[in-house]
């Protein structure tokens, strides 16, 4: 284990002494998390944590870096689907052919985060645990029915992605708990997902609203399963269960798309802020959901 007392350069306006720990096993990380006192933070890519430290919003006493933990470093393909280690960078996800093929929506969401430089460091587990309502990978993971594997002092629990964030910046993780991996289900035949976000800029921006759609088709393009999630329209990313009912049974036609837009509009509980108005977010949520649905439908082999 690496253990250092870090004194950040004074020109960073931060020369506070803090404890930096880099365990190599999940169990050690859990132990350290459970016993450390003060402000304790997990460090994955650091693209949220370091920004918040620099801004003075958090002043950690202890940082636990998870990038050396073997169990968190890989993408594994198994009988039940994919397991993405919590320390896997979003760039690595984009380079994984099988993952890209199986979950194009999840990968495109991960590869929208920041820029090439950010993606070289950042993780979807960090994106999830940062608990921003605008996190890009989260709606895609919700639509994909992904599950977070959480290790803690009391053992392992598996929690649906939509249940992780409880409010902006808050998660259901308890003291000592850590996300070890994110599990994506096995991809069925004729199944595909898509993710779209709205940002005023082409990159280096935060979603003003976003939508993810995951569809499974039966014979003749009939939709057999559907999951729709929206981002940045409520305190946390939301699953829209009513959308499943609307989309299931039958092909993706104009009537379904119109109903989908309406139900997505209705699912929005956004705020007016510097990034967008209530009207704008509500309207564009519907627009993006229909566009993502079209994309997922054609990806799954359906014809529009």
């Amino acid at each position: 284990m690496i253990e250092t007392n870090l004194s950040l350069a004074p020109h960073n306006e931060r020369d506070l002494i803090l404890e930096y720990l880099a365990p190599e096993k999940t169990a050690d990380a859990v132990k350290l998390l459970a016993k450390s006192k003060g402000s304790v933070h997990v460090l994955a890519g650091g693209s949220d944590l370091l920004v918040r430290m620099k801004g003075g919003y958090v002043e950690p006493d202890v940082i636990i870096d998870i990038k050396r933990i073997k169990a968190m470093q890989d993408i594994k393909k198994g009988a039940t689907g994919f397991s993405i280690g919590a320390a896997v960078s979003c760039a690595k996800m984009g380079e994984h052919k099988a993952l890209r093929k199986a979950w194009p929506g999840v990968v495109e969401a991960a590869n929208l985060i920041g820029s090439d430089q950010i993606q070289g460091r950042c993780t979807i587990a960090g994106n999830l645990c940062n608990a921003s309502p605008a996190a890009d990978s989260v709606p895609a993971l919700i639509a994909a029915k992904a599950v977070a594997v959480i290790k803690g002092p009391k053992g392992t629990r598996r929690v649906a992605i939509e249940d992780i964030a409880t409010a902006p910046g808050k998660t259901c993780l308890k003291k000592g708990e850590i996300v070890e991996s994110i599990q994506l289900p096995k991809r069925a035949a004729k199944m595909a997902d898509a993710y779209l976000r709205f940002t005023p800029r082409t990159e280096m921006d935060i979603a003003v609203v976003s939508a993810a759609v995951n569809l499974t088709l039966g014979p003749r393009g009939v939709i057999t399963h559907a999951r729709v999630a929206l981002g940045a329209v409520a305190p946390t990313a939301v699953l829209v269960p009513e959308a499943t009912k609307i989309l299931k049974g039958g092909k993706l036609d104009d009537e379904k798309l119109e109903a989908l837009a309406e139900i997505c509009n209705a699912a929005c509980r956004p705020i007016d802020d510097k990034r967008g108005t209530i009207e704008f977010r509500t309207h564009v949520a519907g627009v993006l959901a229909t566009r993502a649905a079209r994309l997922a439908y054609t990806r799954a082999g359906g014809k529009l």
């Binding site: 709205f198 921006d205 967008g276 108005t277």
Partner: protein, 760 residues
């Protein structure tokens, strides 16, 4: 000296070529030293405590606890700045803005500053300073601020320019008026009259390098300031007066500059660093954070413009009138005056009237931003021209050509124009392939013209010839966009030696006479004029030396291709003497070879540009994409065409950002909500297409090489060009900058709703 600055028909050898800039390698390798790259031994860390309130009176400031903290070496508040004896109201405003006196006027206004041994101690000390505020009602919106019931920001503000001066204080600091003819009669003669209100958000220059300086004053009252600035001589003058120092004893050195665009023409933290250094008797380094830059260094004005224009069915503009309200922050400025002067300057108008109102608001002090105030006025005027043309069924470009100002036109702000470039830029636009290229679905094309004054002013340069014959040109205008390359080209041209043998250096304030700032597009215009005169002085001297060596009359010595030639047949036995030859024998002919000039560079002339752009709008989201953009501008003579193009492109890029997304957003509490690049959205690389440029060269008759300033005009047309393109793409007139997606979508929906109701 004025006369020999006039244009001569010269065939150029160096001027007009595109060599590599001398500062390039240092900049890309990180060797160049910017504001924060300088350090002095024993230097302290300076930090500023800023107001969290938009408007409050300061009841008390208790620094006693902070003073006791180990490692704190000095604390200053307004008490430490003596205003007695200072009469210039502008300087008093600068002092109050650098360190709030009785009141804080905006979120981010400085109230106290600390110098400590390190950043951590300084930060801890700031937390220990207790400021007791009494909150006052605030106003940040320009139209709210002029309402009779608005909270009055300065109870000694009685509108200037109104006769008689009002007895009641208000937020209107000044009214200015320009124009000629009779607008009422003009509107009578019009077939179509349109009246509208246009608004623009407050934008920031967005320079990548934050303000930074290192100040050091000794107990003898002599000091140094290393600073990132657009004008170190002006900074010296103002800082010396504020600190009560002798100007000559304060040496100000300008660092490399990571963008300024007007924002670094103003003092924000430098007097504070000097005051801390004076008090601590140690050097103090002060670097603003990005958040501080947004909250407390001058953005441009937010505006609201009421405009009315009339046109005959044949396209003649019969009258134009506008009231332009510009925010100036909490202190009086002349921003609306500039807006009122530039608004209609592109056109030849019989009847025109503009009124500018300087409006005080609880926002940071407005400062210059590239052609300050002109882009907002152009947004209103050029949008109206398009709409009027549309109403009478004429092409907007033809209506512009028909009404364009020309030589002899009485400008809307008074003077009569000499030879100007608006007509040629319009003709070039009309003939440009961009104008007739096909548009895709949901795309619209827009165009707009822009005007800017350009300045000249005081400049001073030295030319020194080294012993090997290479030349150093020393100037006092800092280099923001390739000026060193341009000035070296000019000197190479004048002396007749290769560009590579000339080094351009920017002197500190101790090494050269006073120079005005690099602003008003004056840097290359004014310093090149002075440099040419310095060269001519050195050439005259070198001819004399050659004459002495040859023992002939100086009139027989000709200077050509960097050499002295003995003229006349009887002298043909003398081989020519190069600069290097003359430098070698300098000891025998009168010592080092040098030239010097000090001038007031008159005749900068005015500048015009025309821009064309294509924008695609997603009708379902209001998302915009800049598909194609073309800048056409008159450069007089492009000394280094690549850097002229860079100025054209840079101004357009900044204008595009301002037009589409950039804006200060204030909360109900008067606090700035987006003091960072995440939510203050300047364009990223992938937001912009390659910006096409076309340089026109209509020589400036008042400059020996025909040079005009090119730095600013390019930001004037974009707001309007994009507004027109978006309006043409959506069929909805856009009147509010920035045209962010929520605003465009709301406008599309509002139009659809009103179309629906009128269909019923």
């Amino acid at each position: 000296m004025g006369k020999d600055t006039l244009l001569t028909d010269r065939v150029f050898k160096s001027v007009g070529t595109r060599p590599m800039r001398p500062d390039g390698i240092d900049k890309v390798t990180g060797r160049a030293r910017y504001g924060a790259d300088h350090n002095m031994s024993g230097q302290l860390h300076g930090s500023i405590l800023r107001s969290p309130h938009a408007h409050a009176s300061i009841k008390s400031i208790d620094t006693s606890k902070a003073e006791k903290l180990k490692g704190v070496k000095a604390i200053v508040t307004a008490k430490d700045f003596k205003t007695k004896g200072i009469t210039d109201p502008g300087l008093l405003d600068i002092i109050d803005n650098c360190m709030a006196g009785k009141k804080v006027f905006y979120d981010g206004h400085a109230v106290a500053a600390v110098a400590a041994v390190d950043a951590k101690t300084a930060k801890a000390a700031l937390k220990l300073i207790k400021v007791e505020y009494k909150l006052l009602k605030h106003v940040t919106d320009v139209d709210e601020a002029v309402k009779p019931k608005a909270p009055v920001i300065n109870n000694k503000c009685f509108t200037k320019g109104v006769d008689p001066t009002p007895g009641k204080a208000s937020n209107v600091a000044k009214r200015s008026e320009f124009g000629h003819g009779n607008v009422a009669e003009g509107f009578e003669a019009a077939d179509v009259v349109i009246e509208r209100n246009f608004k623009t958000g407050q934008s920031h220059q967005g320079y990548i390098e934050p303000h930074a300086c290192v100040a050091s004053i000794g107990p003898d009252g002599a000091g140094e300031l290393w600073v990132c600035t657009q004008g170190h001589f002006v900074f010296r003058q103002q800082c010396a007066e504020i600190l009560g120092l002798d100007e000559a004893k304060l040496k100000v050195t300008s660092s490399e500059i990571g963008g300024g665009f007007g924002g670094k023409t103003h003092l924000w933290v430098e007097p504070v660093a000097l005051a801390l250094s004076q008090k601590a008797n140690r050097p103090v380094k002060l670097v603003m954070s990005r958040e501080d830059v947004f909250r407390a260094s001058g953005p441009t004005s937010a505006t609201s413009i009421d405009i009315k224009m009339g046109v005959t069915k044949d396209g003649v503009i019969t009258a134009a009138e506008a009231e332009l309200r510009y925010t100036s922050g909490p202190y009086a400025g002349s921003w609306a005056t500039l807006g009122a002067m530039t608004a209609f300057a592109c056109y030849d108008l019989k009847n025109v009237k503009t009124v500018g109102l300087e409006v005080l608001v609880n926002r940071p002090k407005t400062t210059a931003y590239r052609a300050p105030s002109a882009p907002m006025a152009a947004f209103a005027v050029e949008s109206m021209i398009d709409e009027l043309a549309d109403r009478i069924g004429m092409k907007a470009i033809d209506m512009r050509i028909q009404n364009a100002a020309k030589e002899g036109t009485k400008s809307s702000y008074g003077p009569v124009y000499g030879p100007i470039g608006i007509g040629p830029t319009l003709d070039a636009a009309k003939n440009h392939p961009h104008m007739s290229a096909p548009l895709g679905p949901n795309q619209g094309r827009g165009m707009a013209c822009g005007f800017w004054f350009n300045f000249g002013g005081q400049s001073c340069t030295d030319l020194n010839i080294s012993s090997d014959g290479t030349a150093t040109i020393t100037v006092g205008t800092i280099d923001v966009g390739g000026a060193r390359a341009s000035l070296a080209l000019v000197v190479a041209e004048e002396l007749g030696i290769p560009y590579e043998q000339v080094k351009a250096v920017i002197a500190d304030t101790g090494s050269l006479g006073y120079n005005e700032m690099t602003d008003g597009s004056r840097g290359t215009f004014a310093s090149s004029m002075s440099a040419i005169q310095s060269c001519r002085m050195a050439i005259a001297d070198m001819r004399q030396r050659a004459a002495t060596l040859w023992e002939i009359d100086v009139d027989e010595v000709v200077w050509e291709n960097g050499q002295a030639w003995a003229g006349g047949e009887s002298n043909s036995n003398h081989p020519p003497l190069s600069i290097a030859d003359l430098a070698k024998s300098a000891e025998k002919t009168g010592g080092p070879i040098a030239g010097h000039a000090q001038i007031v560079a008159d005749g900068a002339g005015v500048s015009f540009a025309t821009h064309i752009c294509d924008i695609e709008v997603d009708p379902e989201t209001g998302q915009t994409r800049v598909v194609r953009y073309t800048v056409i501008q008159d450069a007089g003579k492009a000394v280094h065409p690549t850097y002229v193009e860079g100025q054209f492109q840079g101004g357009a890029a900044q204008g595009i950002g301002w037009a589409l997304n950039e804006e200060y957003i204030y909360g109900e509490d008067g606090r700035l909500q987006n003091p960072g690049f995440l939510d203050y959205r300047i364009p990223v690389c992938s937001d912009l297409p390659m910006i096409d440029t076309q340089i026109l060269e209509i020589p400036n008759p008042n400059h020996p090489y025909g040079i005009r300033g090119v730095g600013e005009t390019s930001i004037v047309p974009p707001l309007a060009a994009i507004g027109n393109a978006v309006s043409n793409a959506t069929q909805v007139r856009m009147t509010h900058v920035p045209m962010s997606p929520p605003r465009i979508l709301a406008a599309i929906h509002a139009q659809a709703a009103s179309d629906d109701s009128s269909d019923d």
